[in-house]
């Protein structure tokens, strides 16, 4: 068959499909072609055109049409409502437990420098100036001075929203960066974890030293349950990425990275949610002075326990999608 005969035979169908792909959104109208059928015959026509060495222009046009139809046929729908419920109830804590090695490592990278720096700046007045400028130190001190009527940053009621925006941008940004930088063989995550640990330890130590702990700890304990764990988890996810590049196991590095990033992302979604909660608490709860110190400490403690219980217990016994049920002990059947 000559090319022009071929074109004449099929061009009506091509035009119809092209038009539909350009305009049709939801396939509810009657003019909508049966997409899978149209797509398969289009594929066949492209293969024939290539086999018969028809001109590049025709093949190009068919190729474009096939690609556009391919996009429609293979559109992925990844967002379903019950996936999210399932993720919150089971998927997130399961993902964290699956990467528990990295979580411990990230915790150590965060807490050890914090501990060293905390003890250091508690016992040595000058050490805090190694990590921040005198103005910053003064600002921190004035924030948590028990003589203040308002706690946290100096605030009126309208500034709660301001601080909420600030915490969202700042803290979630830090968590995302801690995760992303892990791609550089884990080095970036290590840097951010250690750096934040040092900074936090210095503030803790210094504030305790100057005797403002009665205002400082009730402030941080509530949102800290979510914020500090989330930063550590983001770091753990980043370390997982880095590890896949350092030791890809039986895969090529690119494949190992892709598999690791699927695991890591399961954690990152959760840290995002935790940090939103943390920002909310920090802006609207931790700073309110009307609530007594005792109440805030009690609630903060409960929140810490809840977070740990969630990661330790939630989703146990729930199968992950794609996981095979474990055979019952002793219930082995002979083949």
């Amino acid at each position: 068959m000559k090319q022009q005969d071929f074109e004449q035979r099929y061009s009506d169908g091509w035009l119809r499909l092209e038009q539909w792909l350009r305009t049709g959104s939801a396939g509810a109208d009657e003019a909508a072609p049966d997409l899978p059928v149209a797509y398969r015959s289009l594929c066949q026509q492209l293969a024939v055109a290539k086999e018969r060495q028809y001109t590049n222009q025709l093949i190009e046009r068919l190729n474009q049409l096939v690609m556009a139809a391919h996009h429609r046929v293979y559109r992925q729908q990844t967002l379903r409502r019950n996936t999210w419920v399932r993720y919150l109830l089971a998927g997130f804590p399961q993902a964290v437990r699956a990467q528990i090695k990295y979580v411990w490592l990230a915790s150590a990278l965060f807490l050890l420098p914090a501990l060293v720096m905390g003890i250091g700046s508690y016992s040595n007045d000058a050490l805090i100036y190694a990590v921040m400028s005198p103005e910053q130190v003064l600002q921190f001190e004035s924030m948590y001075d028990p003589g203040n009527q308002v706690m946290g940053r100096e605030r009126g009621s309208d500034s709660d929203l301001h601080m909420f925006g600030f915490y969202i941008k700042n803290n979630i940004g830090i968590a995302f960066r801690t995760f992303a930088a892990g791609l550089l063989f884990g080095l970036g995550s290590i840097f951010f974890l250690v750096f934040n640990g040092i900074y936090l330890g210095a503030v803790f130590g210094h504030i305790t030293r100057v005797g403002f702990s009665a205002t400082f700890f009730p402030f941080v304990i509530g949102h800290g349950a979510f914020e500090l764990t989330a930063i550590v988890l983001a770091g753990a996810a980043g370390l997982r990425l880095g590890q896949s590049l350092i030791d890809p196991g039986g895969h090529r590095r690119l494949v190992a990275l892709r598999l690791a990033s699927i695991e890591a992302m399961k954690i990152v979604y959760g840290t995002f949610l935790m940090l939103v909660i943390a920002a909310f608490l920090e802006a609207f709860w931790s700073s309110s002075t009307e609530l007594g110190v005792g109440l805030r400490v009690a609630v903060g403690t409960v929140l810490w326990l809840l977070v740990f219980a969630y990661f330790a217990l939630a989703g146990r016994g729930v199968l992950q999608p794609g996981e095979m049920p474990r055979p019952a002990p002793g219930g082995r059947r002979e083949p």
């Binding site: 690609m67 992925q76 500034s159 940004g173």
Partner: protein, 226 residues
């Protein structure tokens, strides 16, 4: 071979082909996006200025969303194209050339920061230039790539010449060459076409305008013109 073509075999057994986009158009597209984003932020800043500190909070919230999720929004909901990419005819796709999914888009845009390190997208640019398909680090982890969105080419036009049967024994390769000369008669200058036709003077026995017309006529015939 040095070629930016990217082929994927579909389950239907055919090869899809796309052209991977290199660093230069991508950087330009990115700067367009940065421009739009700053414009939005500036506009928001002016609009929210009256709301004082609460306004500042909302502004910070928006700037956070714009910083991390602006590309995700457009890539998933606008066919793989941020406004900048649209301006340069680029689009992001999964590496099997399907439309990008939420998870892949989130991942590649979160890892943007790793590409940014140590400054000014140095890591990403180096990764792109070392990579066959110009993927930055985030693209590698997410399994995505940036390709050119092909424009629908306008209708083919053939030269005005009465079809003429070719001499016997014209090999397939030669037929294809003649056809593509006829097909590209709009893209090549008249002089260049004549020059090409003159190469065949020993075979066709015609030169200049005549030789070209003859080849066009044969091309028409080979394409099925009657």
């Amino acid at each position: 071979m040095l070629d930016t073509a990217y082929n994927v075999e579909t389950p239907e057994g055919i090869d899809l082909r796309a052209q991977a986009a290199g660093p230069v158009p991508r950087i330009l597209a990115y700067s367009v996006d940065v421009f739009y984003r700053s414009l939005i932020l500036a506009a928001l800043g002016i609009a929210l200025a009256f709301a004082d500190r609460a306004g500042l909070g909302i502004w910070l919230l928006c700037s956070f969303l714009l910083e991390w999720f602006y590309p995700v929004f457009f890539e998933v909901l606008r066919g793989g194209q941020t406004p900048g990419k649209k301006a340069f005819g680029l689009m992001v796709v999964n590496d099997n050339l399907t439309p990008i999914s939420w998870s892949a888009s989130l991942l590649r845009n979160l890892l943007r920061f790793a590409d940014f390190l140590p400054f000014g997208y140095a890591a990403g640019t180096i990764a792109m230039t070392l990579n066959r398909d110009f993927r930055r680090l985030g693209d590698m982890a997410a399994g995505t790539l940036v390709v050119y969105r092909q424009q629908n080419s306008n209708e083919r036009s053939l030269p005005q010449a009465a079809p003429l049967a070719p001499p016997r024994g014209l090999q397939l390769q030669d037929q294809l060459a003649v056809i593509s000369l006829a097909e590209r008669h709009r893209d090549l200058s008249e002089a260049r076409q004549r020059e090409l036709a003159d190469l065949l003077q020993p075979v066709t026995g015609k030169s200049g305008r005549d030789g070209l017309n003859y080849l066009h006529a044969v091309g028409n015939w080979l394409l099925g013109g009657k």
